[in-house]
Symmetry: C2
Subunit: 464 residues, 2 copies
């Protein structure tokens, strides 16, 4: 019988996936890796991957230079990334027009976590990986972090382990695959694929890799600077976990259609105009032999570093890194409405988004910068300690952003559950959404920003 | 009791919406407007809105000119739209690099249809609207076609009727609101809001407006050049109609997760690089006093017209229009697989998309152009008549694109159901998808291109 005539050719989503994920989230001991084994493995990887990172003047970088004419910071090969200038005009906020350096990285990379059943429980293959910008060297990273040059084989380099499970893979094993943006204040229209792929029993953990249950990963997430940004964003795209068995779109203070209406209206209403320009003579910024920095030493600076590694494959290199000034505060307010937890998300304009706005945490800012740029965020940051005292702090961990581009970029990620007396009323540009609604949006590209995605991964560890 | 403590504050989607839409689709007679009333009204509107459109040399345009330096065609006010140049590099296809004129229109407009229950049946408020580029003058248009300058009140002009039902509206009445792209070969990153809003009994049809059931609209869709592009794209975003009661994501030859994996992989794999440049000295294009055209007279030209209207409000104006050469063929192959209708969609690269690819009809091209640009589309167009003979033609109507920008832009829109002997195997870059899956994607921005959206609106009229 030809396959076109039988209902049997039609495919169905794995009806047990949510259940299997919930099961894995419930296992913190008794999985493939004991807590003791994990600690031993992680310490050994930390010792095996030491990066000595030293600031150097730009002139001492190898293969990196300021391009003639534009003054952009570029690699001789034209690969990796570059730093250019951006002129920005926005329709609202305390500052409506500014210029800034911005990272250009056109290639779409793969951030992928392999998932495998071990003794009937789903395990996630995590990598111990040092990056020069990490404040603490090694962090737990996805199975694969690869650029497109890696995965299309354009450049013949060292093979990326496990890459074959993510690219050119049988799509029936893919649990999630979605393009998501990264920091819109520092990257211009950068995005990566966020993938989770279920692999077979034959896939084993190599030296730098370790199988962890979702429950174990949730424990790691609460440790300062332990789980890297790439792993956090991939975890946020997990379908359905922590949604309490509700359907895709759930029911909340707003329906899914009402939220889409609000998001589309925000996209259409906010004004944002960006123009890429050269890095030379960028208004408000100055370049010395060692750094490109803001004239008031705010926001961030662009620096050069020399990296010496103790690895066998690569002994050392130089590269630029972005160094944010101050420790960021990234906080999500959660409130039970009608018994259902809702998170308060903000339609936030950032110059590097492909679209104008993405949904951001309730609070996102760096106090030092907002002392200077007074406005709504300044007030939120000022009131934040009181909010934490009155509410219940569900999550409070200092985490870092991608250490391959950012030097000691630290943010305090906080989830605060506020009580019944906290107003349900939404400030302009904010909406309460349920976790199932947020999970539904995370199937699709560019709804939530990278900071909100970290907090959603964290929220799933603490909201039943 | 404060509202935060009761389940009663949680909102639910209208559970009867699909049923109400199906009911309206079943009504072609006995609604608010009889067939006779409609024809009488439509003829009267055609007589009342006559546009005399005459080609003029560029120099005779009022308030439009070629900007110094760039040579771009711009309006003195900086409003409306402009025509610039674009350099394009793509990673595959018969032509990998070219230059072309392209329309810039940054503002996001509203395309909105008001929906209202009349005698218990949903009716759609359609507008009779003439556009200078329409081959036949007046077409059925959405209730509202407004630019952002209109709807934010930045420019004090004539009030757009019914606009207040779409902007600043209570979101609970919104059936759909999604940003969708327009022609990626002619527009650079243009998109509009596609909205359907349910209004109350107090909303009445003005002189240029008429209430039609969905069944009546479906009849109109099959008439050559009767329903305009804007109305077709809004209708395509209707939630759920024609999905046969299946859930959001349905089941098909591929699951929803598998389709998202394929779409994301296509976004990440195809290469596209575009650079906006001035219109002056665009390689392969020449400018005369009357026209900007390709050196082989292919693709399209940019012309100027004088419009004389018999309306009381506006008596006449001049403007540029894009004139495509040849009649396009836009065709969707449909095949029952496991008893469920599937449409074959193509991951198509167009230079003006915000993202790299959007899902396009199975076939999309203009035979005259593809005689010159030989490749896969040329072969598809050559084989198309045979395909129609062997299959069952469900829809075959000549329709025009947006008449405010395009002069006599005509395409034959065809849906062919192929038989069991047609291969189920998908060529590279193509996927069979069910109507529920497509409808699910249409809730979100930029998955389907404007040609595919017209064919999906049409498919819902002929697939049970």
């Amino acid at each position: 019988m030809p396959p076109t005539t039988g209902l049997g050719v039609l495919r169905h989503e794995d009806p047990r996936l949510l259940e299997r994920l919930e099961e894995s989230a419930g296992v913190t001991e008794g999985g493939a890796t004991s807590a003791e084994q994990f600690e031993k493995w992680f310490s050994a990887r930390c010792a095996a991957q030491v990066h000595e990172v030293t600031p150097i003047p730009f002139a001492e970088m190898r293969s990196w230079s300021f391009a003639e004419g534009t003054g952009n910071l570029v690699h001789d090969s034209g690969r990796f990334f570059s730093v250019a200038g951006l002129n920005v005009e926005v329709g609202e906020g305390p500052v409506r027009t500014w210029s800034q350096p911005i990272i250009l990285q056109r290639e779409i990379g793969v951030l992928g976590i392999a998932v495998r059943e071990i003794n009937g429980v789903l395990h996630f293959l995590m990598q111990a990986k040092a990056e020069p910008g990490n404040p603490n060297g090694v962090q737990l990273s996805p199975t694969v972090q690869a650029t497109k040059s890696n995965y299309t084989g354009v450049h013949q380099g060292r093979k990326v382990p496990y890459l074959e499970h993510f690219v050119g893979v049988e799509p029936r094993q893919v649990l999630a695959d979605v393009l998501q943006s990264e920091h819109g204040s520092w990257f211009y229209r950068k995005r990566n694929r966020n993938m989770l792929v279920e692999v077979g029993q034959e896939v084993e953990a190599g030296e730098d890799f370790c199988w962890l249950t979702l429950g174990q990963l949730h424990e790691q997430l609460a440790i300062d600077h332990r789980v890297n940004m790439d792993a956090r964003t991939v975890l946020s795209c997990l379908p359905g976990i922590g949604t309490g068995g509700l359907t895709d779109r759930g029911n909340g203070l707003h329906t899914a259609s009402e939220l889409l209406n609000w998001i589309t209206n925000s996209q259409a209403t906010y004004d944002l105009d960006t123009t890429l320009v050269g890095l030379t003579d960028l208004p408000g910024w100055r370049r010395s032999e060692w750094t490109i920095s803001h004239e008031r030493d705010l926001f961030f600076s662009v620096n050069a570093v020399e990296v010496v590694a103790n690895s066998r494959e690569v002994t050392g290199w130089t590269q630029p890194l972005i160094q944010p000034h101050g420790v960021g505060v990234t906080a999500l307010l959660v409130k039970r409405i009608g018994g259902v937890p809702h998170a308060l998300l903000h339609a936030r304009v950032e110059p590097g988004y492909l679209d104008t706005i993405e949904l951001a945490p309730t609070i996102q800012g760096t106090p030092e910068n907002h002392e200077y740029v007074r406005g709504a965020v300044h007030e939120q940051l000022r009131d934040f300690p009181g909010l934490c005292e009155r509410g219940r702090v569900l999550f409070d961990t200092e985490l870092s952003e991608e250490g391959g581009r950012f030097y000691h970029s630290r943010s305090r990620y906080v989830i605060v559950e506020v009580g019944p007396d906290h107003p349900e009323e939404e400030p302009p540009g904010f909406r309460w959404m349920t976790l199932p609604q947020i999970t539904w949006l995370l199937q699709h590209r560019h709804y939530l920003n990278v900071q909100a995605r970290t907090l959603i991964a964290a929220l799933r560890t603490c909201v039943a």
